[in-house]
C-alpha cells in the first residue's frame, strides 16, 4: 500500500524530460514488438492462405483466401509424418535418458558427505572449456556401432553440463544436509531418500530439466546430420532442411515446373514451419517461468 502511494506521488512529480524519456522508451519497445511479432504473424498467415496468394505476394498481414491445402499436403506426405513421429520419439526417450542421468550425477555432487565431489565437478566442468572436436567424437560413436541408429541421437549428447550445474545448485539449496543426515539416522538409505524425499521436493527443477532437454531434442539437427543415413530415422528438423533449405538453394528459379505445383511447394514451406514450431510456441507462455528459473539458478552459482 505504502509503495503504491509512493509511486503515484512520483508520477505527479515526474519532470517533462523524464516524461519524454519514458515516451521514447515506450516507442522503441513498440517498434521492437512489431519487429519480432511481424515475421511470426506473416508466416502463420501465409500458412493458411491460398497457394496463389502466397506466391503473388498478396499476403501482408492477415491470411488471404483462407485454405488449408498446405496442412493437407503435409499430412499426406509420409516422409514428413515419419519425421514427426521420429522427433516425438527422440524427444520423449531422449528427455527421459537425459534427465535421469543428470539427476544421477547432480544429486550426489550436491551432498557434502559425498567424498571427491569437487574433483568430479572439475572433471565435468572441464568438458565445457575444452573438447576433442568433431572427428574424434565421431570416431567414438562409430566405434560403438551407433552410426545410423537411433541411439546416436539419444546417447552421445545425453548430458548437458549446464543442466548438471543448475540441478546441483537447486539440490544444494533445497535439500539441507541435516535432512539427509536425519533420514540416514532413521535408517533411510540414500537411494530411498532420493526417491521419496528429494525427487518430490524437486519438482520445479525437474520441470526445468525436462523442458530444456525436450526443446533441445525437438530442435536439434546436427547429430542427425552427421550420424544418420537412412531417412526413415530422420527427425523432423532434417526433413525440414531437405524440403525448405536445400530445395530453396537449388532450383527455386526453375520456371519450367508446373506453376501450380510450384505454388503449392512454396505454401508448403510456410505450413511446415508452423507445424514444426507450433507445439513448442503453444506451451511456451505457460512454462516460460521455468526457463527463466533455469537460467537464473545456474547463473547464481555457476
Amino acid at each position: 500500500m505504502a509503495a503504491s502511494s509512493l509511486v503515484s506521488k512520483r508520477k505527479i512529480r515526474e519532470s517533462a524530460g523524464d516524461r519524454i524519456f519514458v515516451f521514447t522508451i515506450y516507442f522503441i519497445l513498440s517498434l521492437v514488438l512489431v519487429a519480432v511479432l511481424y515475421p511470426l504473424i506473416y508466416i502463420a498467415s501465409s500458412s493458411i492462405s491460398s497457394p496463389s496468394a502466397v506466391v503473388s505476394g498478396k499476403v501482408w498481414l492477415w491470411p488471404v483466401d483462407i485454405s488449408f491445402r498446405g496442412f493437407q499436403t503435409i499430412f499426406k506426405t509420409p516422409l514428413i509424418m515419419t519425421g514427426y513421429a521420429n522427433s516425438l520419439f527422440y524427444m520423449a526417450v531422449g528427455t527421459l535418458i537425459s534427465v535421469t542421468l543428470t539427476v544421477m550425477l547432480a544429486y550426489p555432487l550436491s551432498r557434502k558427505t559425498f567424498f571427491g565431489r569437487n574433483g568430479i565437478l572439475m572433471v565435468v566442468l572441464f568438458t565445457m572449456l575444452f573438447g576433442g572436436g568433431l572427428i574424434p567424437t565421431y570416431l567414438v560413436v562409430k566405434e560403438l556401432g551407433m552410426i545410423d541408429s537411433r541411439l546416436a541421437l539419444l546417447i552421445p549428447n545425453a548430458i548437458w553440463v549446464w543442466q548438471v550445474i543448475i540441478a546441483r545448485s537447486f539440490f544444494q539449496s533445497a535439500i539441507p544436509d541435516e535432512l539427509a543426515e536425519a533420514s540416514a539416522i532413521d535408517g533411510c538409505s540414500d537411494w530411498r531418500f532420493l526417491r521419496s524425499v528429494v525427487l518430490p521436493l524437486s519438482k520445479p527443477i525437474l520441470a526445468v530439466l525436462v523442458l530444456m532437454y525436450a526443446v533441445g531434442q525437438w530442435n536439434a539437427y546436427f547429430d542427425a546430420l552427421i550420424y544418420l543415413k537412412s531417412d526413415k530415422l530422420f527427425p523432423l528438423q532434417l526433413v525440414l532442411r531437405s524440403i525448405i533449405i536445400q530445395n530453396n538453394s537449388a532450383g527455386a528459379m526453375d520456371i519450367s515446373i508446373q506453376v501450380q505445383r510450384a505454388q503449392l511447394a512454396e505454401l508448403l514451406k510456410y505450413s511446415l514451419i508452423v507445424v514444426a514450431t507450433l507445439p513448442v510456441l503453444l506451451i511456451y507462455p505457460f512454462v516460460q517461468r521455468y526457463f527463466v528459473q533455469g537460467m537464473l539458478v545456474g547463473s547464481v552459482k555457476g
Binding site: 514488438l33 511470426l40 568430479i120 568438458t127 574424434p136 570416431l139 560403438l144 530442435n219 514450431t277 511456451y284
Partner: protein, 310 residues
C-alpha cells in the same frame, strides 16, 4: 601433505564410500558418459599428429608429427578461415552483446506491468525456434523472387537483391537474425540483476533529484556491471566456437568466400572428404585458441574488476 593427514583423508574417503555406496553407484553411469563421449575424444585428438589408417585404428596409425598443422598453416585458406571466423564473431559480439542490456534497461523503466510482460513474452518466444526453422524463415523472407523483403523492395520501386548470394551481406544476415532470435532471452538475466538492486539506492537518487536517465547511468548500470562482466567473459570465451549449425545451413556456393569458417571447414574436410587427421588438427587449433582466449579474458576481468568465472 603430512603422511598422517593423507591417511586421515583416505580413511574419510573409505568411510564415505562405505556409508554412501549407493551415491557412488549412482554417479558411475554419468561418469562413464563423460569418459566415453568427452574424454576419449580428447585422447583421440592425437589423431592430429598421426596419419589415420582405418585398419590400424587411431593408436596403431603412424606418427607424423606436425605435418597436418603445417599443411593447414601453409594453405592459403588458413587466413581466410581465421578472418571469417573472427570477423563474424566480433560483429556478433559488438552488436549482439549490448542490445539485450539496452532491452533490459528499457523494460525495467516500464511501470505498466501488462505491457512489460507482453513485450517480454513476445521477445523471448523466438528463442524456441530451431536453427533449421530460423534459417528457413530467413530464406523465405530473403528469397530472390518470392521473398517478402524483395516483394516489399519492388513495391517501393527498388531493384530486388539476392541477399543470400551476396557474400558481403552474409555477416549482417547472420548477426541480425541472431539478435532477433535471442535478444529477449538474453535480456532476462539482466532483468533479474536489475530486480536485485538495493531499492534504497533509487530512493537516494530520487532525493538527490536524479532524472530517469541519470538513475539508469548511476544506479542501474553499476548495479548490473558484475553480471555484464560475467556474460562478456563467457561470450568472448566462445568466440572461436561460433555456431556451426546456423552458418552451415546459410551457406551456399555464392556466399562461401565470407561464410566458410573454421567449424564448417572441419566438417567438410573431415566428414565429407574423410580427411580425418587434417580435420582433427584444424579442430584442435580452434579449441586451443578458444581455451586461451577464455583464460586471457578471465584473468583480465579478474584483475580489473574482481569478477571472474573461476
Amino acid at each position: 601433505m603430512l603422511p598422517g593427514a593423507r591417511r586421515g583423508t583416505l580413511e574419510l574417503a573409505g568411510k564415505s564410500v562405505k556409508k554412501h555406496w549407493q551415491l557412488y553407484l549412482l554417479v558411475i553411469p554419468p561418469l562413464l558418459f563423460f569418459l566415453i563421449f568427452k574424454y576419449v575424444p580428447m585422447a583421440n585428438a592425437v589423431l592430429a599428429f598421426k596419419d589415420y589408417n582405418v585398419i590400424k585404428g587411431i593408436w596403431g596409425s603412424p606418427w607424423v608429427g606436425l605435418k597436418y598443422f603445417q599443411m593447414f598453416f601453409e594453405n592459403p585458406i588458413f587466413w581466410t578461415l581465421v578472418r571469417n571466423t573472427l570477423l563474424l564473431s566480433f560483429y556478433q559480439l559488438l552488436a549482439g552483446f549490448p542490445i539485450p542490456i539496452l532491452l533490459a534497461l528499457m523494460l525495467n523503466e516500464i511501470r505498466n506491468g501488462r505491457f512489460k510482460r507482453f513485450v517480454q513474452l513476445v521477445t523471448f518466444a523466438p528463442y524456441f525456434i530451431s536453427t533449421v526453422v530460423m534459417v528457413s524463415i530467413i530464406m523465405l523472407f530473403l528469397a530472390p523472387r518470392l521473398g517478402f523483403v524483395n516483394i516489399a523492395l519492388q513495391y517501393f520501386g527498388f531493384a530486388p537483391i539476392n541477399f543470400l548470394g551476396e557474400p558481403d551481406m552474409f555477416r549482417s544476415i547472420y548477426v541480425w537474425s541472431d539478435i532477433w532470435q535471442t535478444a529477449g532471452y538474453s535480456a532476462v538475466i539482466y532483468l533479474a540483476a536489475l530486480a536485485g538492486i538495493d531499492p534504497t539506492l533509487y530512493e537516494a537518487a530520487k532525493v538527490d533529484g536524479a532524472s530517469r536517465f541519470q538513475k539508469i547511468w548511476h544506479v542501474d548500470l553499476p548495479g548490473i556491471l558484475p553480471t555484464i562482466t560475467i556474460i562478456l567473459i563467457l561470450n568472448v570465451g566462445s568466440i572461436m566456437s561460433i555456431g556451426f549449425e546456423k552458418i552451415y545451413l546459410l551457406q551456399n556456393s555464392l556466399n562461401l568466400p565470407k561464410s566458410e569458417v573454421i567449424a564448417t571447414y572441419v566438417y567438410s574436410m573431415g566428414l565429407l572428404n574423410a580427411n580425418y587427421s587434417f580435420a582433427t588438427a584444424v579442430g584442435l587449433i580452434n579449441s586451443v585458441i578458444n581455451l586461451m582466449l577464455l583464460v586471457a579474458v578471465n584473468s583480465f576481468a579478474k584483475r580489473i574488476s574482481n569478477n571472474s568465472i573461476w
